[in-house]
Symmetry: C2
Subunit: 215 residues, 2 copies
Amino acid sequence: MRPSRRVAVKRLPKRASYDTSVIHAILDEGVVCHVGFDVDHQVYVIPMAYARVGDRLLLHGSKKSRLMRALSAGRDVCVTVTLLDGLVLARSVFHHSMNYRSVCLFGRSRRVAGAKARDAALLALVEHLVPGRSADARGPSAKELAATELVEVTLDEASAKIRSGPPVDDKEDLDLPFWAGVVPARLTWGPPVPALTLGPARAVPTYVLEYTRGS
Amino acid sequence: MRPSRRVAVKRLPKRASYDTSVIHAILDEGVVCHVGFDVDHQVYVIPMAYARVGDRLLLHGSKKSRLMRALSAGRDVCVTVTLLDGLVLARSVFHHSMNYRSVCLFGRSRRVAGAKARDAALLALVEHLVPGRSADARGPSAKELAATELVEVTLDEASAKIRSGPPVDDKEDLDLPFWAGVVPARLTWGPPVPALTLGPARAVPTYVLEYTRGS
C-alpha cells in the first residue's frame, strides 16, 4: 500500500508499515477502535466495536445516536486501533517508551445499505468479537435490524506504527546503576461468568472457554 | 461536575457519570489515551501516553512532531481513555455488548511553560507509567528537555461512560438454548524482561516486579 500524504507516518518513520497483512493483523486482533470525526467544528473521539472484512472496516450503532447519524451521512473519519504490548524502561527518563502496534485509518464513512450487505456486516461484527458466536445466538429481528445503523470505511489510506523490543539507551548511560528492560502487557481473558438467569445445565461453549485473540 | 453541552452523554445516559472521582480513577488506571484534533480540516486520532495531575491532563512528545506543534499552538482536542473490562454475550445478537469504562475530555491544549512546571509535568508522566521509576532513572539533560514539548488540557469538560455487569436479554429470550454471560478482560503484566545490556547482578526493582494498575 503506498501511503497518501495524510497517512504517511512522519514521526519516527522507521516504526511505520504500510503492509496490508500487518495492518489487517492489528485490526483483527483489536477489540475497540477510536473513531474521530468532526461535527460543527467539534472533534469527537468515540470508542467503538468494529470488524474488518477484506479492505473495509465496519462500524455499527443505534440509528438514533448522534454518532451514527453523523457517520451514516458520510464523514471524513480517522479510526485508530492501538494494542499495548509493554512498557519500556530505559536508564534515562528520556528514552522511556511503550511497545505497541497501532493502525491509523483515514477515509469517508458510508452507510451500508441493502438487506444482504447489512446482514453480512452484522455477522462480521459478532464474529470479530467472538468467533463462532453468530451461529449460537438469536439473530436480529426486523425491529432490531431497523434500529441498527451500519457504516463502512475503506482501508485505502491506512498505516501501522509499531514499536517492539528492548529499551534503546544512549551508550554513555549503559553503565548507570538503574534496571532497564520491558514489562510486557497483554489483554487477558478471565474465566467466563455465566448470566445468573442461565440454567446450571447450560455448559460454557468451547469458543467461549478457549477464547483468545491474536497469536 | 456539571456536564457542558458537548460533553453530556446523549446515548444511553444511564451509563454516564460526571463524578470527578470516577473520571480520575479511569484516567489514573489507563496507560494510553487517544487524542483527536483537527489540522486543516483533517481529523487525526493519535495514541499517546499521558498523566493526570489534579484537574489537568498532561501530554508530551517531540518538539519536532506535527502533533506537538499543533497541540502546543493551542487546539480544541477531544481526549478519550477506554478500559475494556469484558465481552458481554447475550442470547440475542442485538444485546451483545462490552463492559468498559471510558472517559471523554474536551478542552483546549496549552503549552506547559517554565522550567519548574515542565519538570513537574515530566515527573508526572513517568510516575503515571511506572510509579517509583522517576527516582530510579537518569533525569533529562538540558538537551533532552529542549527537545521535549509538554502540553496540558484542563479537565473541566469530561464525562465517564461505564457499562458493567451481565447481559440484559429480552424476557422472551431467556429460555433460548444459548449460553449467556461475560468473558472478563484485563490488561495483565508479564514477568519483566531485562535488557540484554544489563549486568546479571542488577536485580529487578520491587516497583517493577509488583507492577500493577487499578484495583
